[in-house]
Subunit: 78 residues, 6 copies
Amino acid sequence: MLEHTAEESKDMELSARNQLKGVVREVKTGQVMAEITVEVEAGSVVAAITDSSRERLNLQDGDQVTVFVKSTEVMIGK
Amino acid sequence: MLEHTAEESKDMELSARNQLKGVVREVKTGQVMAEITVEVEAGSVVAAITDSSRERLNLQDGDQVTVFVKSTEVMIGK
Amino acid sequence: MLEHTAEESKDMELSARNQLKGVVREVKTGQVMAEITVEVEAGSVVAAITDSSRERLNLQDGDQVTVFVKSTEVMIGK
Amino acid sequence: MLEHTAEESKDMELSARNQLKGVVREVKTGQVMAEITVEVEAGSVVAAITDSSRERLNLQDGDQVTVFVKSTEVMIGK
Amino acid sequence: MLEHTAEESKDMELSARNQLKGVVREVKTGQVMAEITVEVEAGSVVAAITDSSRERLNLQDGDQVTVFVKSTEVMIGK
Amino acid sequence: MLEHTAEESKDMELSARNQLKGVVREVKTGQVMAEITVEVEAGSVVAAITDSSRERLNLQDGDQVTVFVKSTEVMIGK
């Protein structure tokens, strides 16, 4: 699908309910996938994204980022 | 999780690879979920999001939006 | 699929990488889905689960719970 | 997106790895979502799909169906 | 789970709402995952599937395929 | 996010509706992801999880495990 340029994504709000700011603490790359560990206030969050997305965002240790999770992906244990 | 204010989300680029611009053509609301039909160049895309996200984004017929899909969620049939 | 009894799930560790403890702060129920808001250290997390799962776990305001998210479901914005 | 006609989907094989045949045993409908319980050999599988997809497939008790799950959506507990 | 033979999948209609026809334009393989780029009318769609699914479907450049996305996986940005 | 210790996860019940017990029959590891094949009563289920989760759970051939699938991830074909 057509990707937005930076100009177009300005001020966009995303429907994904869960958004948490943090700092990249580890970047592990494979041939297809990459694993990004983000330190957030509550501990750390791990994201498995494609390595080409890691490259497109140029994700590196120390980057200030936001993690997003759609609420339909959240489970609860009690 | 802490949500971004509009100021903070400026110019953000999202790791989700598939991004497609379109126009909202139908909004169907339930008690918990909402179904949003977006007309894109290739036809239409349907999103099931929480109704509170629909309300937060104030999604309405005619709105110009972008649909996002993480590549790990895409299947292929051949 | 066959569901575990409480006895069987004792001491189980789950592959889902992201696990965060919190307290249920809001329970919104629909005919099929339910929306559970959990207060965690960093803010709040919203989960959209089936209402029958909400009923099975008897989720209520004030419950101590854990939210789980598989790392393949986490996106990053930068 | 453009939907396939029945003619076009003939003989298609899907990338989703987990496929299990069963019989619909319960259909619960809401305004936006529907919950379909499918009896399979090992017990039962519950699917939360949009109610419009339930309607499009005309899902009813006794229907012979196949449940599909992408492998990136499967978690393991040990 | 038991996989369908080609005979059994004839004429099946899938609950996943978003279906788009296209042509495979790039196949990138890793040890566990594969990334498939599909050119569709609106641009291109990237799918991250297991490499064993890529092999099972024998996905190659030029293949005519359909991409499928469940509506609960679609997010909206506005 | 903060991970549970074994003590804390005792007796926890998970909202994910689909739970099936089985035995690990194949473990395939990559740099970022791992593919785990679990033999269940109805055939086999394949899970794509991060390789670090495979390592954390020390998943090996012959392990008795449970596979979990959230109902919002299940599709139906008819």
